[in-house]
Amino acid sequence: MLHFSTWKQIAIILTCALGVLLVLPNFFSKEALARWPSWIPHSQLNLGLDLRGGAHLLLSMEASEVRKDWLDTLRDDARKRLRDAKIAVSGLGIANNVVQVRLSKPEETDAALKELRGLIQQTGNVILGTSVTDLTVTKGDAGVILIAPTEAGIQHRVTGAVSAAIETVRRRVDAMGTTEPTIVRQGSSRILVQVPGLQDTAQLKELIGKTAKLSFHEVHPTVSAAEAQQGRVPAGYKVYPGEDQEGGAQLLRETPVVRGDELVDAQPAFDQRTNEPIITFRFNNAGARKFGNFTRDNVGRPFAIVLDDHVISAPVIRDAILGGSGQISGSFTVESANQLAIQLRSGALPAKLTIVEERTVGPSLGADSIEAGKLAGIVGGAATIALTILAYGTFGIFAVVGLCVHGILTVALMTLAGSALTLPGIAGLVLGIAMAVDANVLIYERIREEIRSGKSPIAAIDAGFTRAFITIADSQLTTLACALVMFWLGSGPIRGFAVTLTIGICTSIFASVTVVRLLVFYWLNSVRKTRRTFEVPV
């Protein structure tokens, strides 16, 4: 029956009022909102990057680079373990993604195997029993032991590296002073960076395009890089190229004296004598001690500062540097010094990030899109309202009220959920209105049909609402199935559209059926007070 209990009426009206309250802040400026009492909601609808303008970058971490770093660490760990166990090694190298250990005495193979198996770690969920080892340590030819990372182990390392990279990227982006950047993981090896309002992405790309691994190395005392390249490179040393392709290469000890992760601060500055841009830095205690010891022992000799495997400068140590602070000079410009300082402050990236997708929208286009969306919304909405009232008279007015409630609640829910309105989202919103109208069309056509078949007005209205509801639920649920698939699979524009569509479907049943039914209930009550017989104005 068409009856509504009092508490139900109150609940419906309160829901609508709450919707209005949630939508209200969208019509005021931020300054005006600040003066509102605190109990009124203040949050405004988030605009997507395509509407407010901004940059969207999808970064991908190279698994191969993570693997290479891990293999390097494994080799060093293996060397250390065998040395501690006093097992002599005649060769230690990496080939085909496997660390090969050649023992001096093949009879020590079993002891070495036991020692090296200590490197194996479990990854995955130990409690669920899905854990797997991250390495396999096996015997190769006589006296050779192979240490090979497993696929699961690499995956685990990549996941960890991405988490670390997200933190680093966040610190670097924050250093740019932009507002509300979003930095999130996407999939297993990707990072999504969204910076609203940013138009020129060049600086952002420079900042996150470098791993910025800084290290301080000992220079080989006698052999020069050129000599090493011709002949044999001494064990434990490696030739590092200079910053530009020509000269500047140095033969350096591979294990650095101090690494960049022991820096606590780095700032751009100017050299007081030459007035060139430089970077001043400070080590933490452990770093300061190591650097101090090294410089004290090597006064008069050069050392090299290496950034991302390139030598940026190789100054000669004049005095022991005991205070833990120093400066790097190189061929910096003011800008590049500033950038490197930011990168050093925010730490190195575990591996290089490649940009696999970039989308930017300028603020002028965003504003144009909002204007266009508004205009289309007004025209489309007005046409829908006119059509509905023309077709269904007084009941058409009720349907229009239902539509307004639908629109308000959709925007309110989106504000509440914090989901952003995108350009396809506007289309979804407008389409949701068309779908909401469909519910009313179904009900009213049904009422007309029942009247034609000779039912009394009240019975016809009642039958119209009850019968049409099944159809409405069916049709909305199928659309919902579609929207959920879009949300599940979609990225970017598809997802924004799916969110608005889903919310629109959920609110349309309440707005177009429940609210309209309540209005019809009020109308019936008022009509029955004044008249004995009446016609249904559809």
Partner: protein, 330 residues
């Protein structure tokens, strides 16, 4: 409520019209099958004009700082950069230009290099309003997910229809929906409209809209099957289509009016999306009337599941049972 004017709406639809849809079901189905085959053929021969999302490469929307854009000069200037095929077209207003640079060989970083070359070349004369750069890895993924999304959407819908109705209805729905998607895709391939991620979203929405239509007709068929147990199936299908026709037309008109507003005023960026939606609504409305229901005439529907319900009269107000309709015992 007292101050509200009481006036009747204008019931413009002639309800006593009994259009003989079912008489032409063979013709409709043949035409639809030919349409689908043609669409497949066009997609196969011409292929899609994939956007940056699916093809990879770069796209820039730029605006001349003053006056109209000189497309010939731009073409000449960007052609010299050695970036392979560079497409330049005006976009909306005379000062706006859309530049597309094909995917550069060599991987992800090369796309960034190409973008930098183009923006450097435009420096000073144009402001960049929008850029999209999609590398080879992402574009092939997006192509894949786009395809899976449409297929999964189709399956989700069919599963739901199967759950709510008989399998014949689900089969009718899947044919009608495939028809809609194929035809819209065919038109996009024929006119080489740009096909990107937003078109996939449009296709999914078209699925949603079209099945909405189909479900409304199917609901009525189910109801009538209970009401008129002895009626000839073709006649019953025809009656059901006719009874829901006023709703089909009115909702279709509202959707088309709204989409037209979006198409005309909604801006250049989502114009293709709106075009796909417009086509889809028209084709989807057609398919639920001329494909889904007539197909039932061929497939036949088990009539006995109407079951124990008493012989209903037209005024019978019994609600059709929810849940799977054939649960009723014989």
């Amino acid at each position: 409520m007292r101050f509200l004017p009481n006036f009747k709406g204008y019931d413009f639809f002639p309800h006593d019209l009994r259009l003989p849809f079912m008489r032409y079901k063979g013709l409709c189905l043949t035409l639809s099958i030919i349409g689908m085959a043609l669409a497949l053929l066009i997609v196969g021969v011409r292929g899609f004009n994939y956007g940056v999302d699916f093809k990879g490469g770069s796209m820039l929307e730029v605006q001349a700082n003053s006056g109209a854009a000189d497309i010939a000069a731009l073409r000449e200037k960007l052609g010299r950069l050695g970036l392979g095929a560079v497409q330049i077209q005006s976009f909306g207003s005379p000062s706006d230009v859309l530049i597309r640079v094909e995917q550069q060989p060599g991987g992800e970083a090369e796309q960034q290099v190409a973008l930098k070359k183009v923006t450097d070349a435009l420096q000073g004369q144009y402001i960049t309003r929008r850029t999209e750069v999609v590398g080879p890895a992402v574009s092939s993924e997006l192509r894949m997910t786009g395809f899976i999304a449409v297929a999964a959407g189709l399956l989700a819908i069919v599963a739901y229809v199967w759950f709510r109705f008989e399998w014949q209805f689900a089969l009718g729905a899947i044919v009608a929906l495939t028809h809609d998607v194929l035809l819209v895709a065919g038109i996009f391939a024929l006119f080489q409209f740009e096909f990107d991620l937003s078109i996939v979203a449009a296709l999914l929405t078209i699925l949603g809209y079209s099945v909405n239509d189909t479900v409304v007709v199917s609901d009525r068929i189910r109801e009538n099957l209970r009401k008129f147990k002895r009626m000839d199936l073709n006649e019953l299908l025809n009656l059901s289509i006719n009874e829901t026709l006023s709703r089909t037309i009115l909702t279709g008109c509202t959707a088309i009016v709204v989409l037209l507003a979006l198409y005309i005023f909604g801006g250049e960026v989502i114009r293709n999306f709106n075009l796909a939606m417009l086509l889809g609504v028209v084709i989807g409305t057609y398919s639920s009337i001329f494909i889904a229901a007539p197909l039932l005439g061929y497939l036949g529907v088990k009539r006995e599941w109407v079951g124990t319900a008493p012989q209903a009269t037209k005024a019978d107000a019994a609600k059709p049972p929810s849940g799977r309709a054939n649960l009723a015992t014989k």
